[in-house]
C-alpha cells in the first residue's frame, strides 16, 4: 500500500516539474536555514571537544551582589574564595578553578606581533575537560603548585610561533617578555566555547594577580564534574548551600549574594541573555528561539499549502474515481499526507546537502576563529523532526480539502471551491 502511494507520489512529482521545483526550493532552503542555526546552537552548547561530558559538567562563573535598593552587581568569582569553599565540595568528582575570561598576551616572531589569548588554569582543568592532545601532556599538580613557567598551546599558535606542530614540546615560548616551556599541544578550541577557549593555557600560579585576596568577586570560574548525570542536581544543591552559608559582605549596602553552578547550555544562553542566572534561566530564551523557528516556518509552510491546494484540485478526477470506488476520506487524507511527507523528505535531503555546504563555507571563511561546524547525529535527528513536522503542517489542510471533494462533482471536473 505504502509502496503504491510512494509510486503515485513520484509520478505526480514528475508530472509538473515546475511546481515540484518550487516546492523543493521552499522546503530545502527552509530546512537549510533551520539546520544551520541548529548546527551553530549545537556547536556552542552541545557535547564537543573539549567539553565532552556536558551532561555532567557544571559551570559557575558569576557572583551576584543584590543591592538593598534593587540594583545588581555581577562579576566573576575570586580565586581564594573558590579555593577555600568550592574545591572541598563533597558531591562532585572533580573541581577545577580557572580564569573565567581570556586575556591578551603578546609574543614576537621575528618582527611580527602575535597576539594570543591566554587563560590561566589549575591542573584539574585538564582532567575535568577532554582536550585532544596532539603532542605532549598537560601540566600537573606539582607544576601548578610551584608556579612553573610551563604552557599548553593550541595547534594554530604552534604553527604561527614555531612553524610546525611537531617536536615543539620542551621548546621555549616568550609571552609578554617571560619565557614558558611548552609541555603540550592541543587541538584548536573554538571561540564559542567561552569557558575553556584560549590559544595558550598557563598554570594559575604564574599570574600577577593576588591569589590570596579573599574577595568573593574576582576573575575566576569554577567547573564541577558530577559523578553521573543523575547526580547533577545534588552537586548544584551543595554549591548553592555553600553560597548561602557565606556571610553577606557589607550588609548595610547589600541584601544577599548569589551564585549558581549551571549546565553548559544554561550558562551560555543566560550569558547571551545577560539576565539573572539560575538553574532554569535558559527556558525563556529557548522558548523564544522555538517561537521564532515556528514563525519562520509559517510562511514557507503556507506557500507549500497554497501550491498543494492548487495541485490537488488538478487531480480531482483521480480523487473522484477513487471515491467512487469506495475509498474513505480518512484513507485519502492518509495517502495525501504520505505523499506530502515524501516530498518534504526529498526536500529534506536537499536541505541537508545545502546546510552542509553552507557550514563548510562558514568554516572556510574563518568567520568565527577555529570554528568547525558540521552535521552530526543530533543535527540529523533535528532535520528529520523538522521535515516530518513541516510535512504534516503543510499537508494537513490540502489533504482535508481533498477528502471533502464530492465524487460526482470531482468526476465532472468541477473544482470550484
Amino acid at each position: 500500500m505504502l509502496w503504491n502511494y510512494l509510486k503515485i507520489a513520484w509520478k505526480v512529482l514528475l508530472r509538473r516539474k515546475f511546481f515540484t521545483a518550487i516546492s523543493l526550493f521552499g522546503i530545502s532552503f527552509t530546512l537549510m536555514i533551520l539546520l544551520v542555526v541548529y548546527a551553530l546552537f549545537d556547536y556552542t552548547v552541545g557535547p564537543h571537544q573539549p567539553e565532552m561530558r556536558t551532561d555532567r559538567l557544571l559551570f559557575a562563573s558569576r557572583m551576584e551582589y543584590q543591592y538593598k535598593d534593587g540594583g545588581v552587581n555581577r562579576s566573576s568569582l575570586g580565586y581564594a574564595f573558590l579555593d577555600r569553599h568550592a574545591r572541598p565540595l563533597r558531591t562532585p568528582e572533580n573541581v577545577s578553578i580557572s580564569e573565567s575570561n581570556w586575556s591578551e598576551a603578546v609574543a614576537y616572531v621575528g618582527n611580527q606581533t602575535l597576539k594570543l589569548d591566554q587563560k590561566r588554569t589549575d591542573s584539574e582543568f585538564w582532567q575535568v575537560l577532554n582536550f585532544t592532545f596532539v603532542a605532549g601532556r598537560p601540566y600537573n599538580l606539582r607544576e601548578v603548585r610551584d608556579g612553573a613557567h610551563v604552557a599548553v598551546i593550541n595547534e594554530t599558535t604552534s604553527r604561527h610561533y614555531f612553524g610546525t606542530t611537531q617536536g615543539v614540546v620542551g621548546r621555549p615560548l616568550v609571552l609578554d617578555s617571560r619565557a614558558y616551556q611548552v609541555v603540550g599541544v592541543v587541538r584548536d578550541v573554538p571561540l564559542l566555547r567561552f569557558s575553556c577557549y584560549a590559544d595558550v593555557w598557563l598554570p594559575v600560579t604564574t599570574t600577577t594577580d593576588d591569589l590570596r585576596n579573599p574577595d568573593y568577586m574576582g576573575r575566576y570560574q569554577v567547573i564541577l564534574l558530577a559523578r553521573s548525570a543523575a547526580d547533577v542536581p545534588r552537586v548544584q544543591q551543595e554549591y548553592e548551600q555553600m553560597i548561602a552559608h557565606q556571610p553577606v559582605p557589607d550588609p548595610k549596602q547589600f541584601k544577599q549574594i548569589g551564585s549558581h553552578a549551571l549546565l553548559l547550555r544554561t550558562a551560555v544562553l543566560s550569558r547571551f541573555a545577560r539576565g539573572s542566572q539560575g538553574p532554569g534561566s535558559d527556558q525563556p530564551i529557548l522558548r523564544l528561539m522555538l517561537m521564532l523557528a515556528l514563525l519562520f516556518m509559517l510562511l514557507p509552510a503556507l506557500n507549500l499549502v497554497n501550491i498543494n491546494v492548487s495541485r490537488t484540485l488538478e487531480r480531482s478526477s483521480e480523487i473522484g474515481v477513487r471515491k467512487a470506488f469506495g475509498a474513505t476520506a480518512g484513507r485519502l487524507v492518509g495517502q495525501f499526507l504520505v505523499e506530502n511527507i515524501f516530498l518534504t523528505l526529498v526536500g529534506g535531503v536537499l536541505g541537508l546537502a545545502l546546510a552542509a555546504g553552507a557550514l563548510h563555507l562558514l568554516n572556510e571563511s574563518q568567520f568565527l576563529p577555529y570554528s568547525e561546524f558540521g552535521l552530526n547525529g543530533r543535527v540529523f535527528g533535528m532535520a528529520l523532526g523538522i521535515v516530518l513536522f513541516f510535512g504534516v503542517l503543510s499537508g494537513a489542510y490540502p489533504a482535508y480539502k481533498m477528502s471533502k471533494l464530492q465524487a460526482v462533482k470531482a468526476l465532472k471536473g468541477d473544482t470550484a471551491a
Binding site: F19, F25, T30, T113, S177, I307, A417
Partner: protein, 394 residues
Amino acid sequence: MIRHLFTLVWNRRRANFLLITEMFLAFVVLFVVGSLLAYYQRNYRTPLGFAYAQVWRVDLDPGTQPQAGRLATVRQVMARLRALPGVVSVGRTSSNTPFSGSFNNTDVGAGKEGKGATRASGFYVEDDLREVFQVPLVAGRWFGRRDDGAALPPAVLTRDLAEQLFPRQSPLGQVVLRSDEQFRVVGVAERFRSDGDLEALRPVFLMRVSPQDTALGEASTLLLRVRPGAGALLERQMRTETLAIAKGWNVGITTLAKQRAAQLKEALTPIGALVLVCVFLVVNVALGLFGVLWQAINQRRAELGVRRAMGATAGGISKQVVGEVLVLTTFGLLLGLLVAVQFPLLGAFDVPAGVYFTAMAAAAAGLYALAVGCALYPSQLAAGIQPAVALREE
C-alpha cells in the same frame, strides 16, 4: 472596474484566503526587516562627532602592585609614551572608550536640584584628549589648566543634552547635577557617538580628570593619537617601553579602528543573516504566487474564453488578471498595515516614527512590485487564450 475586481476577489474569498494570509505575512517580514535597515541606515549616516582613525587605546592593568604607587607609574608611562616620535598626544580616560561596548549611564539634571533629569552616558577625559578626539565644540571651550582651581568641576555637554536641560537659554556657566555631584558647564559639543556607528544618538556628559586625579580607580586606560603610518613597530616599542617602567603589569594595546571594525562585524552579522532569510522568504512567496496564479489561469480558461468571445481585448484580460492580484495584495497589505501602524502609535523600541513610516512605504512598494512581477507572465498567458479553443474544451 475596480469595484468589479473587488467583487471578483470577494466571491472567491475562501480560495483567496491563503494567498491573502501569505501576502500579509510577507508584508510583515518586509516591514520588520525594512524598519531595522532604515533605523541602522539613519544612525550610520549621522556623523560620529569625533576622530578615531589614528587613535590607539592602551590598557594598563597593575595586577598586584600596591595601590599607592600606581598613579605615579601611570604618569611615568604617559610621559615616556608622549616622548616617542610616533605619538602626538596622550591622555587618561575611563574604560568606556568609543566602540568598546561598555556603558556608563547616569541621570543628569539642571541646577543644584537636578531638575528635568535625563539619562546621559558619562566620560572622564583628560585635557590632552582634545587633540586625540578632536571634538568640534559649538559653544564654550574644552577643559584646560584654568579648571584646576575652580570651585565646581567643569563639564562639557553634547548639544541634545544642553537643549534638553536648558531650553532656550545658554547652558554655558550653568550648574548641573550628576549623581549628587555638581558641575559647571564650560562647553557644548555637537555630538559624541561613542556607542558606535549603528547605535542611536545619545546625550553625553564629559567630565575632566586632572593629572593628579585618582578618580579613575584601579585600572588605567590611555588613549593616544599617533602619527599617520604608525604600525606594528610603534606598538612593539610602546609595549617594551611601558613594561620597562611598569614591571609586572599587563599591557593591552589596540586601535580604535580595529575595535570599530570588530563592533561593526558583530552588529552587521545578525542583520546580514536576517536580510538573507528575508530574501529567501520573499523569493519563496514570489515563486509560490507565480505557481498558484499560473494554475488559476489554467482553471479559469472557460471564463476567460467567454470574455474573449464577448469582445474583451487581450489587453483587457491581462489587466483584469493583474488587477485581481493587486486587489488581493491590497487586502493583505491593509491587514499588515493594521499591525505595522501599532509600532509608531505605541512608540515601540524608542525608534523615531519616521523610521517606521519609511519601512511601511518601502514594504508596501516591495509587495506591489512582487505581486506585479509574479502576475505578468500568467496575465500574458491569459491574454493569449483563444476563445474558440477554450470554449471547445468544455
